[in-house]
Amino acid sequence: MSIEERVVEIVSEQMGVAKDQIKRETEFIKDLGADSLDTVELVMEFEEEFDIQIPDEEAEKIQTVGQAIDYIQEHSK
């Protein structure tokens, strides 16, 4: 599975939405109704899945699915 597919998989599972509704431009808070706890959980899932650490100040900038994919692509080992 590509990074993109794995991110979509995690977002779908965490937020309880169908994968075909998750696009690069999808915003976690605005489009998926994520609250502050959901966004923390998502970041933790990304960290575990891709074996990376996302500092809090970077995590705050990740607001769309595309931003998450780009960050992970840049930082995964």
Binding site: E13, Q14, L37, V40, E41, M44, E47, E48
Partner: protein, 414 residues
Amino acid sequence: MSRRVFITGLGVVTGLGETLEDFWSGLLEGKSGVGPLTLFDTSQFKVHFGGQVRDWDPDARFGHKEARRIDRFAQFALVAAESAVKDSGIDFAAPPVPPERCGVFIGSGIGGLNEFEEQHRNLIEKGPRQISAFTIPKLMVNAASGQISIKYGLKGPTSAMATACASAANAIGDAFKAIQAGWADVMVTGGSEAAITHMGLGGFASMRALSTRNDDPQRASRPFDKDRDGFVLAEGAGVLIIEAEEVARARGARVYAELLGYGMSADGTHITAPDEEGRGAARAMRMCLADGRCNPEQVGYINAHGTSTGLGDLAETKAMKAIFGDHAKNGLMVSSTKSHLGHLLGASGGVELVASALAIHRAALPPTINLDEPGEGCDLDYIPHTAREVRVDRVMSNSFGFGGHNASLLIGRV
């Protein structure tokens, strides 16, 4: 003259079922909700059975996203509350009084123990950064009250009582007093527990508090019997809707019973062992009768705490004899529905007041099953084996908890 408070809605989640009909017919028919535990591998534990809620599918009930955010104990509370609200006929989208006049008091002995264990595993196996953001809001004891108030938009007095196995009785008693005092007009109240976990089962087993009758689980909970050997760990929730008389009358509500009295006390002796003479329990019962301006002879039935432990059942029997005198041996009927359900800990007072309200409303008393031969000193009419179709007008429900907490509730026919 204080405000009158009526019970108008009932909801349960138990090993005997989730509908009032399954629950009540199970009790009257003498069924047991106890069986082998399947929540996790119990092979290394001393006890392999309990009163587990069967076929619980959180995703189907709450949706995957919500289910992940709510611990099993609060899930039970939400489902029992939903049943009770529906049963009461109240529509909180168009409530009979403003939402600021409606509150929630749900007790739990332990709270979200499942979540605590799961996140502790994460801590050990993955490290502190992998502790879920949902950990605290899932495991806190007040999560059940909070979730119910959020679901229905209730904005009045909301709290959570934690007095171990007296939690639900204290929650209901306090909710009764909140309405009497004029703080609220409608309360959603009761208790919830989901402590059949590694730590819950292991912890109670280590205390030697649990029956080890692994070869015959349905006969293990035998309150007041000479062969009783400890309580049976169970889980679930019991929630009631209670409301001020004028609100119930104005909306033409069906009334199961009236809450009449509430008493509580502490043994003040030991963190787990009851006062052997039941003096604390007796004080709670006496306070409850005085609060309800009720003579002992008027009480027809007591839904006992009766957990099936050697010391506890005897101490409660002594307390009942001290308070009810001759009436205890001549007319007073007593049973323990823990013989069917096992011990729901902080939820027990909730499901037991549901049973007590149905006993009044449907004029039948559930039996104490598995009571083949009364233990020494257990010499009251415990309604062994077979239910009785009999009309009683006043019913007391007792709940006692580790910590030495004692709570008694009195309800009456309206």
